[in-house]
């Protein structure tokens, strides 16, 4: 007599139960679909099989059924299956919910020496010191910072140009470090700056406190100078000098850069990537223009439709692959973020792609005048005269901000899984709601998703990456998977601040 029971004893029952899932026909092959679980596990399968699955006609002993069960799209008998791994995956993907806001942006001044046509922050003249953060506001902001529960706090100084009020950067940093002697949080400091006029004395302070620098570099000299004009017409040279100086003090990975893409930029993806390579960067962030600040006033001159951005992105991606194949490792940070959402179940630091909304739940902005916002975009809207998303001011406890009308507005429109159209989108487990962008572009935080630039951009990029991955050879697939691996803290910070 055999010591083992017969194979059929282990067979699944013939019927099964559907678990929540979503599907999307592939734009490049409409006979197949991208099918995702509520935790974001997914597979590509023929639509015929989707129909059979829904009609309970799939044999439970088939390889496809085993695959679907492993990805938590279906379950055959709760007595032989556990949903614990699915719950664990959901928890991992939404882990950013548990700690509260980790990114805290201090806007120490609105002053800036640039006159960028697409500026998102409504900058002020370099002499306008009334737009500097006052001492009393800085003190109260630091007190509020430590009221949040997050064990890890990323403190980013921003402007305008924060170097123009470096005294306040130093004062706030010292106050936070002192306060942290008893609080015991893990601190990370970032300075977002043009890096112009950066001095050794400033860098000595930044190095002492482990700062990272985040700057803007739009591409080759002609493009950067055109996008970011200064009267002296030497914006590019000053930024590159600042990058070199910063690296000498803070190390090669102590300085990261972001591009902002104008209409001119879309014509030269290769030149932009080659510039980053020339300067020794191993990551590039290709950011489309945002609908805020001065960018709205110059949209006709500098703006472009999302389709043009996607066409640019496809060219840029091909060039990046060529650069990597030639032996120089470089990723694109947004592709890395989306690939990490496709190939891992980890949460991430990028506020815009969170659901519930990362605004207010993932980031807080302390403006120069003591006003507090749930995101940089909300601050920009306020600078344009629309305070719909102002949480309050630094004199108030955070419980007051969390019960503010702005926060209610955010949360009502901030769960992507509950929004019209998004609720049925197969990419929603990996995507976000971004109510403030929808409010800015469409006048409604819920927004009209079929015509949303946010949706068109993100769905376009997910489709593109999936299609490229499926068609790629083993070498490119391995490269794309390597981009999906969670990055160092610096890149996460750059993502979060982007």
């Amino acid at each position: 007599m055999s010591r083992f029971r017969a194979a059929q004893s282990f067979a699944a029952p013939p019927d099964y139960r559907l678990l929540p899932f979503r599907f999307r026909r592939l734009p490049w092959d409409e006979a197949r679909a991208f099918v995702s679980s509520m935790a974001g596990d997914w597979l590509l399968m023929p639509m015929q099989d989707v129909q059979r699955l829904v009609a309970h006609q799939l044999p439970t002993d088939s390889p496809l059924f085993a695959d679907l069960e492993a990805r938590h799209l279906v379950v055959a008998g709760t007595d032989r299956s556990s949903l614990a791994p699915l719950l664990s995956q959901i928890r991992s993907r939404k882990s950013y919910l548990l700690g509260g806001p980790a990114l805290h942006i201090f806007v120490v001044s609105l002053r800036c020496h640039h006159t960028c046509s697409y500026c998102q922050v409504s900058r002020q003249e370099t002499t306008a010191t009334t737009f500097d953060m006052a001492e009393s506001h800085a003190e109260q902001a630091v007190e509020r910072l430590f009221e949040w529960p997050s064990q890890e706090l990323t403190i980013e100084f921003q402007g305008g140009e924060p170097l123009l009020n470096f005294g306040q950067v130093k004062a706030i940093t010292r106050r936070i470090v002192e306060r942290n002697r008893t609080a015991g949080r893990t601190l990370r400091f970032v300075l977002a700056s043009t890096l112009h006029d950066l001095t050794d004395a400033q860098l000595a302070f930044l190095a002492e406190h482990g700062f990272k620098l985040s700057t803007s570099l739009d591409g080759p000299e002609w493009l950067h100078n055109a996008n970011r004009p200064r009267p002296s017409k030497d914006s590019y040279r000053r930024t590159v000098d600042g990058i070199e100086l910063g690296r000498r003090w803070l190390g090669e990975d102590g300085v990261s850069a972001l591009t902002t893409l104008t209409r001119q930029s879309l014509e030269v993806p290769e030149a932009i990537i080659d510039e980053y390579r020339k300067l020794g960067f191993h990551s590039i962030s290709l950011r489309p223009l945002s609908p805020y600040g001065f960018a709205t006033r110059t949209a006709r001159r500098t703006g472009y439709p999302t389709e043009d951005f996607l066409a640019f992105y496809r060219r840029a991606f091909d060039h990046l692959l060529a650069v990597n194949r030639a032996g120089y490792a470089m990723d694109e940070s947004y592709a890395s973020l989306l690939l990490s959402q496709l190939f891992t179940s980890f949460g991430h630091g990028y506020v815009d792609l969170r659901s519930p909304s990362g605004a207010g739940l993932g980031a807080v902005i302390y403006d120069y005048d003591g006003r507090v916002y749930p995101s940089d975009e909300a601050r920009m809207l306020a600078a344009m005269g629309d305070g719909a998303f102002a949480l309050g001011d630094v004199s108030q406890p955070i419980s007051r901000w969390l019960s503010s009308p702005a926060m209610v507005r955010l949360l009502e429109a901030g769960v992507a899984e509950a929004l019209p159209t998004c609720a049925d989108c197969a990419f929603v487990p990996m995507c976000g709601a971004d109510p403030i962008e929808h409010y800015a572009r469409q006048g409604d935080p819920v927004g009209h998703r079929p015509s949303s630039d946010f949706c068109r951009r993100n769905m376009g990029l997910f489709d593109f990456l999936l299609q490229r991955y499926e068609a790629a050879d083993g070498e490119v697939q391995a490269l794309m998977r390597s981009w999906a691996v969670p990055k160092s803290s610096m890149e996460e910070i750059t993502d979060a601040a982007a």
Binding site: F21, R22, E30, V54, R91, S399, P420
Partner: protein, 99 residues
């Protein structure tokens, strides 16, 4: 302005399914839905004066079928989805409801 009208059998597709399918076209076309007994009339018109695509009915029919599939999944899993989310994220619910 070019218009197309499609007649949809409401015994085959629920109003909810038809509305969800039609909503997907509202970025490109004007859309109007009108019910009449067992049928529902879906009217599409061009917003910019261009021709409506020749395959509009084929695409809309396919979307109706897809929405009907989604409705079946939703009907079978809605309660479960809420239970799973609650079980997965109960740690994220604030202890103090006022904070």
């Amino acid at each position: 302005m070019e218009r197309s009208q499609f007649i949809i059998d409401r015994t085959l597709y629920s109003d909810d399914v038809i509305v969800r399918a039609a909503h997907r076209y509202t970025n490109r076309f004007g859309v109007e839905l009108r019910s009449q007994n067992e049928n529902l009339f879906a009217l599409f018109w061009s917003l910019d004066g261009s021709r409506l695509p020749d395959d509009l009915w084929a695409a809309f029919s396919r979307d109706l079928l897809d929405e009907r599939l989604r409705a079946v999944v939703r009907a079978e899993t809605t309660g479960l989805q809420q239970e799973l989310l609650r079980a997965a994220l109960n740690q994220a619910i604030p202890v103090d409801a006022h904070v």
